[in-house]
Symmetry: D3
Subunit: 278 residues, 6 copies
Amino acid sequence: MFYHVKELQYEAKVSRPDPEYAKKLQEVLGGQWGEISVMMQYLMQGFNVRANKKYRDLLLDIGTEEIAHVEILSTLIARLLDGTSLECVEAQENAYKSDPAVAAVLGGMNPQHAIVSGLGAMPSDSVGNRWTADYIISSGNLLADFRANLNAESQGRLQVARLYTISDDPLVKDTLSFLLARDNAHQNQWIEAIHELEQEAQDVVVPTTFPRECQLQAASYDFYNTSRGQADADGPWAQGVAPDGRGTFNYVSQPVPYGGKAKLSPAPKDVYDTPPSY
Amino acid sequence: MFYHVKELQYEAKVSRPDPEYAKKLQEVLGGQWGEISVMMQYLMQGFNVRANKKYRDLLLDIGTEEIAHVEILSTLIARLLDGTSLECVEAQENAYKSDPAVAAVLGGMNPQHAIVSGLGAMPSDSVGNRWTADYIISSGNLLADFRANLNAESQGRLQVARLYTISDDPLVKDTLSFLLARDNAHQNQWIEAIHELEQEAQDVVVPTTFPRECQLQAASYDFYNTSRGQADADGPWAQGVAPDGRGTFNYVSQPVPYGGKAKLSPAPKDVYDTPPSY
Amino acid sequence: MFYHVKELQYEAKVSRPDPEYAKKLQEVLGGQWGEISVMMQYLMQGFNVRANKKYRDLLLDIGTEEIAHVEILSTLIARLLDGTSLECVEAQENAYKSDPAVAAVLGGMNPQHAIVSGLGAMPSDSVGNRWTADYIISSGNLLADFRANLNAESQGRLQVARLYTISDDPLVKDTLSFLLARDNAHQNQWIEAIHELEQEAQDVVVPTTFPRECQLQAASYDFYNTSRGQADADGPWAQGVAPDGRGTFNYVSQPVPYGGKAKLSPAPKDVYDTPPSY
Amino acid sequence: MFYHVKELQYEAKVSRPDPEYAKKLQEVLGGQWGEISVMMQYLMQGFNVRANKKYRDLLLDIGTEEIAHVEILSTLIARLLDGTSLECVEAQENAYKSDPAVAAVLGGMNPQHAIVSGLGAMPSDSVGNRWTADYIISSGNLLADFRANLNAESQGRLQVARLYTISDDPLVKDTLSFLLARDNAHQNQWIEAIHELEQEAQDVVVPTTFPRECQLQAASYDFYNTSRGQADADGPWAQGVAPDGRGTFNYVSQPVPYGGKAKLSPAPKDVYDTPPSY
Amino acid sequence: MFYHVKELQYEAKVSRPDPEYAKKLQEVLGGQWGEISVMMQYLMQGFNVRANKKYRDLLLDIGTEEIAHVEILSTLIARLLDGTSLECVEAQENAYKSDPAVAAVLGGMNPQHAIVSGLGAMPSDSVGNRWTADYIISSGNLLADFRANLNAESQGRLQVARLYTISDDPLVKDTLSFLLARDNAHQNQWIEAIHELEQEAQDVVVPTTFPRECQLQAASYDFYNTSRGQADADGPWAQGVAPDGRGTFNYVSQPVPYGGKAKLSPAPKDVYDTPPSY
Amino acid sequence: MFYHVKELQYEAKVSRPDPEYAKKLQEVLGGQWGEISVMMQYLMQGFNVRANKKYRDLLLDIGTEEIAHVEILSTLIARLLDGTSLECVEAQENAYKSDPAVAAVLGGMNPQHAIVSGLGAMPSDSVGNRWTADYIISSGNLLADFRANLNAESQGRLQVARLYTISDDPLVKDTLSFLLARDNAHQNQWIEAIHELEQEAQDVVVPTTFPRECQLQAASYDFYNTSRGQADADGPWAQGVAPDGRGTFNYVSQPVPYGGKAKLSPAPKDVYDTPPSY
């Protein structure tokens, strides 16, 4: 069960309204790697844990923090939209035609911030795609999922870093500096959790519990150079012992097919596919 | 530019048609973590590389291999649908009402395999969601993206392993044993590529080039226990030096808000939001 | 069966082309609360009526009118795009770089109005999301659905009102004044239809026919104050007899869990979830 | 900011695993009117409130409770999937072909519960559509949004009632009886909140603050009978004073167009539309 | 403007309820090539016509007929769901476990037909994907769009034919025989309309008005054999005068790249892409 | 199986960066009719061919070429984004407020090109919708699918032509002139392939193998004038022998319903639909 306090986990203030920046900031609220994604991903993973309860606690603690991040960014976006009167939007329309300097104020505003949300944050990204659960995963395998989480925090911090650089509002930057710090903490934390699981399993390949004899050993460490030229032949992915310690990489410079030609049987007549006689 | 040979990279044979298994197998062709996802993700990342050309080569070599995996699975699914006459589907309808044993043959078939694709594979998952680019990422930051790739191969191999267990067709299992092996190879390879980039950067936090002084140091290594109870207090994510070597984890057992209460200004009247006077 | 006359239900004229406004106006054609949504929602509800035929007639009469609204808005948008030559779009590109005043004319045009629809209306919202049936509902329960309809007309009129304020074209405003009037009529009409159904059922809680003894009476009128502070304690939702007349609101200032700790059993080994032993 | 306790708001127990019912129950977790929808809708509305703070508190209190409902249903679904070994799924495949009685146990299981989520709940509906923010609204106008909320609770309780009837597991029914009770409470509460806002505004038409003289009065209370036959002529939507008290309904039995024929100008040649000369 | 009569364009009767067939029939109502698609595609194309008014009339006449087809199929689906009590669905659950013969009656029912639509048709396909405007096109170029329409009627009739074969209900088949006939008529009609436009333009390549000298003539009639083996060398697409009469096909058996190696410049440092020095 | 060479099929150079044009060009990479669509459509159709192997070869040869087009456009878009520093984006923000001339440089940039893809191409259209397999079809019936392909090449060339006109960069135009040429070739080639299949079948109506006596002959050549006025009565779709040679068009100037009134039975009580007694 969950509880709320009215204070924000961190301040979300702005020096001045900036609707165009509000549009861009939507990316890290409702975009593919935004706070809604990590909130929903960690909560769903946490609710589904069938392993040691410390992992459930870990996921739900960070997931609960992420709800607060959704709150922070929603508040920040709403404040960047403060005071945007529709007369102003109308003026912009006309200004575009006569006085570009005035027009520019709202030039890049997301029209849905005026028409749909009434100057509120939306569950959408910076170009208006609505958030979708296509973005998240909860697989029941924590090593796989913690890698998903590490990736999400990596992509997320990358995007916040880019948004930090674009902004020149010290208060906005202050809020982002908090989110950057938390993404720093969370990347480090998922790395530790991944290491712990890898050590427990004494393996690095997901799923670690699948019987290795059931995979085709002959192809398990090959690198297929499917192109002309071998610029990638010297990388650590192409030679030496593999990280799982169970094989050695083999660079195949001219890979050939193992299989025969693909060919399908004709369809029964009543499926109305094109007959083979044509 | 790309070229094709008519042979499959690996055999894709079946012992007998099995439309219900065909439905399930769609997950690793057109699902969130299926072969279309890794094909499109690696190709887009490869086309966008602005770093050392060996990474472009690495991405496009593996991406080109993944097109062949899409071909293998499409062929396998089509063969699992061989010979499914619509009269048989009609029989099933009736059988459901009289003879369950007959009915069961096609009981779990995806109706779109009959109605839409005419016994062909579809760019969809096991419940029929069409593939979407929501599933993939190409960020320009290779450390972030290689983590995405490691995750994709982890989730993908996990799903193939589950499908392997469900099947009892030795030929289908043979094809899956090849895909399991390739996912084994690719997980190992992305791990190596990640290590190389981390060593180059002497950091593990994406983006490694963002100035650390711009993030709020005070919050960079905290773990906030946002719940009652501390089952996660003893994990390696809660104490000791962080993997980036730049800080020490700090477990905050009773975290409190840093910010003030969230409160927004009234909207201009012409936005037609609810006025604050109500 | 349906018939068409070539006259518009109401004029859809413009004083001058305005591609940027055309982009915004898409919201009330193909957006979440646009005319396509109410058209499709009322038609589907009407086709599915299993209750008194007057409700089928009511839904299909209004639904049929909404097709005419789709026609009006499509025409209006196309006329706002009149005469937009691609040379002009090219000029804009260059103008952006040299003469902002000229550039501004097309500054906010939706590029798909040029590239995709050839200066025609699209089944999309103001940021380009394609219309989806995710927006609509037909549940078979008319009290529920008429509430959905009242909401749709409320959200729709709100958006048209905002677009009315933004426009300064008297002819566009004239068309919108008609749509505002119809949304006024329809809100009133759905309110009446809702009241009729509530009176018939002598209840206001959907579904009115579900046996009340099957719900947990003890929790049926509680308000749980899940936060710190009680700003919402004095509202009519927190005290007094409830609108259904069957209970009295109970404000629970410090709600506690009724249930035990969530805990799941381990997964069977062959699912390849993380084992509990880790 | 948010906090979590490990106890569930209400019990989520099952008498026995039932994967087919788990599939159906997904509808009220991740479907259009499921708990994720109301959770996200109330939180986003709450974060965006620019009106009296009691409404923010109201929305966030109920929104925070809804996170707990997501937790309850996720737990319930996971428990309905307890112990589903993949060997069992394989047996089902074969059983379909030989022993329908055995096959039937897992006959209607969602394959993604095995392959994707590893026996965990998913952010999806009962046929596998992933949750999308297309389902929700936060408009800044609370009268509009509370109507959306009343509708959501109505559709939601309707679906839970149907699922209650389908189930024969007394423990599952017990959990559902709690959710039915909460939907009862919330419908009553939104009705009260709507009445308060209507009384404040002395109007029932959203947005109440839009100047009525800007809408076409002549069409504001008409009912257009766009069909042949007048089964809906006697309803309260067709005669008498309208609920807003500002006009009287007017049933137009044979409505005619107010506008002229729709006709568009030719496109500039360089758009490559079909020329009018053809 | 549009009008409705209460009679169906064609009968939509059933011999007996059949929920499983109702599920399949959804494909041609709300699927990619279903009646909603052609209805919306023709209406949007018709509203956007900037060419000769006869084409507007043609599109809106057929588009208006398609609304009636949506009505027919919605009615047919609802009737196939007649009388499906939820007790029956519950019985099915239990029957799956004890008496497969009973269970089979509702075995393949779409659960949303019970839980969401209350035994009504849905704007979805046979696996539950909601209809989306991604399926349709209105480009302003009628030769292109009539080809889209011919394709839609071809795919649509193919799917109805498959559904006709699956059914054994003579009344359902009677309704489908009407839809098959209309798709026959419409395919013929779009073919004629295409021919007329091609003759007007004296060209078959869309857009016919684009200046041919602006395309790279050297590549305009080549066929690139990008694979090993030349099974397609003898087709009419590989030799002889092309249908546009302006060139001769040229089969290139071993195509080579015209361009140089792809290589991108490094990103500016503040984008935080991976630096080229790594 | 597939192979790659590092050279582009055609040059993809730019005279200067142009982020706004990069945004527009996304339409023909990741939009409904972009190169990803034809690549995926032809490959899936090719993998699924159950007819003569020359068609498989034809589809895979062109499909393999389209992968190279995806590569070309991705490269072109990335180069149009060359050198876009985020400081520049920040400058733009400020410039909007003070110096429109500077601001204009990046005025119409897609923010995701900076924040998400780090100056790389995206699998999205010109307004940011992610690519989805909703756009494509593989039906098993090649006459239907080749019509889909002809349409795709028609819509695609139309969009490239529009983008060609908008551009003033001779190098970009040079690349587009190649794509225009290939779309010219492919339209011609699909036309030939269609003709061959029609001649084989001696029919033009898909599916040609469906027994004609199963469709309602009486309605197979009618044109229903569902509107008032007969502007479309003189077209070749309304009179004369139909292209299939099996019937003569019949223009029905005042079509009437063939069916009775739509009316549905009441729902069982336990579905909680609105009862008919209300």
